[in-house]
Symmetry: C2
Subunit: 348 residues, 2 copies
């Protein structure tokens, strides 16, 4: 099988280009010049974000597939655009490729990238393809837009706002744990386990839900995507808005599969819900008078949207109120940090 010793950089770029199908009407010049060139409509904000996935830090080759890795590399970036209330249009893909990586793997990676780009109408406008001395790295920059009136940042939360979350955070972290300890005797149906692993390897960016929120005309005062964990990302919102927050344990949405598996394997479900990370759910605050607009709109949607707490005026007090009446600072429950631990915390 061909490997990277054979095709040169320019051959690879041609190869990747042929795997990418979506073309954006915004592009004037795509792959193949010194820059990509585009023009957007007047009166919008341009949104730009970048996220890298590095082998043995964010993923391991034996526990993912190239297609899923390509999808996830885009998904985590799309999620950042969704978190600002925007729509993605373009992305740049930079790869650092170890010489030993088979070209077949790269083809799979680009098939995954192409699939998620077609789903969300994103054109790959260029990038950089280079050798890497040891590990694979993928650095993606994404470009989106939002109407100036619809921009949502991290910093607008005000006391009295209600706190909401999409989906059921925590599954991705358990998926990672399942992948990281394959030899452990895990209890529970393989199907349930597979669902957790899928949540980790193939997260769904909440672009559709973000658009529904924007279209609802409800007063979304701040929003973030949960990449560092529910606790940590709520701390980001509180810090940016100089506010406090009270979450209620009894209101937190629980995935039935996560509940079953954590209970069977004697794990603390709250660790996964609060500190899991890589959920890519949306966490947002909403003016209290608009709560009904949101709850009615998301009543029967596949992805639940759940009120989990309230913003307060006390920046020093960002807490979880437990079912048995205790008050725990979110800092104690906050997510992992690649620098500090290299992996997710198992127990607080």
């Amino acid at each position: 099988m061909a490997d990277l010793k054979k095709p040169g950089e320019f051959d690879l770029i041609d190869r990747f280009r042929s795997l990418l199908k979506f073309r954006s009407p915004r592009m004037k010049i795509g792959i193949g010049d010194d820059c990509a060139v585009y023009s957007g409509p007047a009166g919008v904000y341009q949104l730009i974000s970048t996220d890298a996935l590095i082998e043995n830090v964010h993923f391991r080759l034996p526990t993912t597939s190239p297609e899923l890795l390509g999808r996830k590399a885009l998904a985590v970036n799309i999620s950042d655009i969704a978190a600002m209330g925007g729509t993605p249009h373009l992305a740049l893909v930079t790869l650092g490729i170890p010489k030993t990586l088979p070209v077949k793997f790269l083809d799979g990676l680009y098939r995954g990238i192409n699939a998620i780009c077609q789903e969300h109408k994103i054109e790959i406008a260029g990038g950089d393809t280079t050798a890497s001395p040891s590990h694979l790295f993928i650095s993606i920059t994404i470009f989106g837009e939002t109407a100036k009136s619809q921009l949502v940042t991290r910093s607008g939360a005000r006391p009295g706002d209600k706190i909401f979350v999409t989906g059921t955070p925590g599954e991705s972290a358990l998926g990672l744990k399942l992948l990281s300890s394959p030899r452990k005797q895990w209890k529970g149906d393989k199907k349930l386990q597979k669902k957790m692993i899928q949540a980790h390897l193939d997260p769904v960016p909440r672009l559709k839900e973000s658009r529904q929120l924007m279209n609802s005309k409800a007063g979304i005062t701040s929003m973030i995507d949960i990449s560092d964990g529910l606790a940590q990302d709520l701390l980001h919102i509180c810090k940016a808005g100089k506010v406090g927050a009270v979450l209620r344990e009894e209101w937190l949405p629980r995935s039935p599969e996560l509940e079953r598996l954590t209970s069977l394997n004697k794990l603390e479900i709250m660790d996964y819900i609060m500190a899991g990370g890589e959920d890519y759910e949306l966490l947002f605050t909403l003016k209290s008078e608009d709560v009904r607009k949101i709850t009615s709109r998301f009543k029967n949607t596949k992805t639940p949207v759940t009120q989990i707490g309230e913003v307060t005026a006390h920046p020093q007090k960002v807490i979880l109120l437990t079912i048995d009446g205790k008050s725990i600072p979110l800092k104690k429950l906050s997510g992992f940090d690649h620098f500090k631990s290299g992996k997710k915390p198992e127990k607080k």
Copy 2:
């Protein structure tokens, strides 16, 4: 000294932010949210480009300084904007950082980034800061603009156009060779050697010259920056424009220092001029009726701008006409490829 085991990702981001001084009027939201947000004037093209520098592929820690590395990481990206006739405004910086790298190194890197950003009025609008299992990598995405009437691509060269180059290509490649073989008994003044090494470690993007070209209103029909080598990059222009080219050896600008050092050390200067790479000079084609506009404008500038050949109608024939009347296909003289050799060719 503090190292990466101590500060976490968020501390590092705060630290980097404090080292960055330039703020662009185009930014609505810079570092610290899910996306950076900006808006540009109507009627312009947005230019985006990305280039990565990877340890032991593009640089070696023992032979550069963190400040120069930071400067170069930006410079190679600024050069891409210059090559399209544009002006850079913003950049995103992604770092994959080995745990053993001292924080002092990162501070130096950001001082270099800050310095070149202040020189060219570029705001660092965000990025991603993550751990790397072994090597340092730096992936930068740059954003610029150009008036729609001033966009210059690779693909506009037409038969009869004259071919020009800024500066004196080849020095950077000799600088790399000096750095790569420090134990060799190099002949020639240390000062000359230093100049070559500086050309490699601290290349100057030709943004000023690009603006002068645009302001001249001369018919620049295509442009590229020389990153892969003069021969290879002219091949890119010819392929994109479906044209051929004849370069004349006697017209090629020769750096006196490069001439002296290659001659003293019995190296073939043409290898360096034609295949060197990483010169970041501008290579462009010009309508023949506008030659005087350009030669008179650049008559007494510090950076020479030299006519080196002519575009022809024969895409199969991209050649160098040597002083002794031979005709050599540029493919035989073309630049290096990180994938194929891992380093620059010494002799053709």
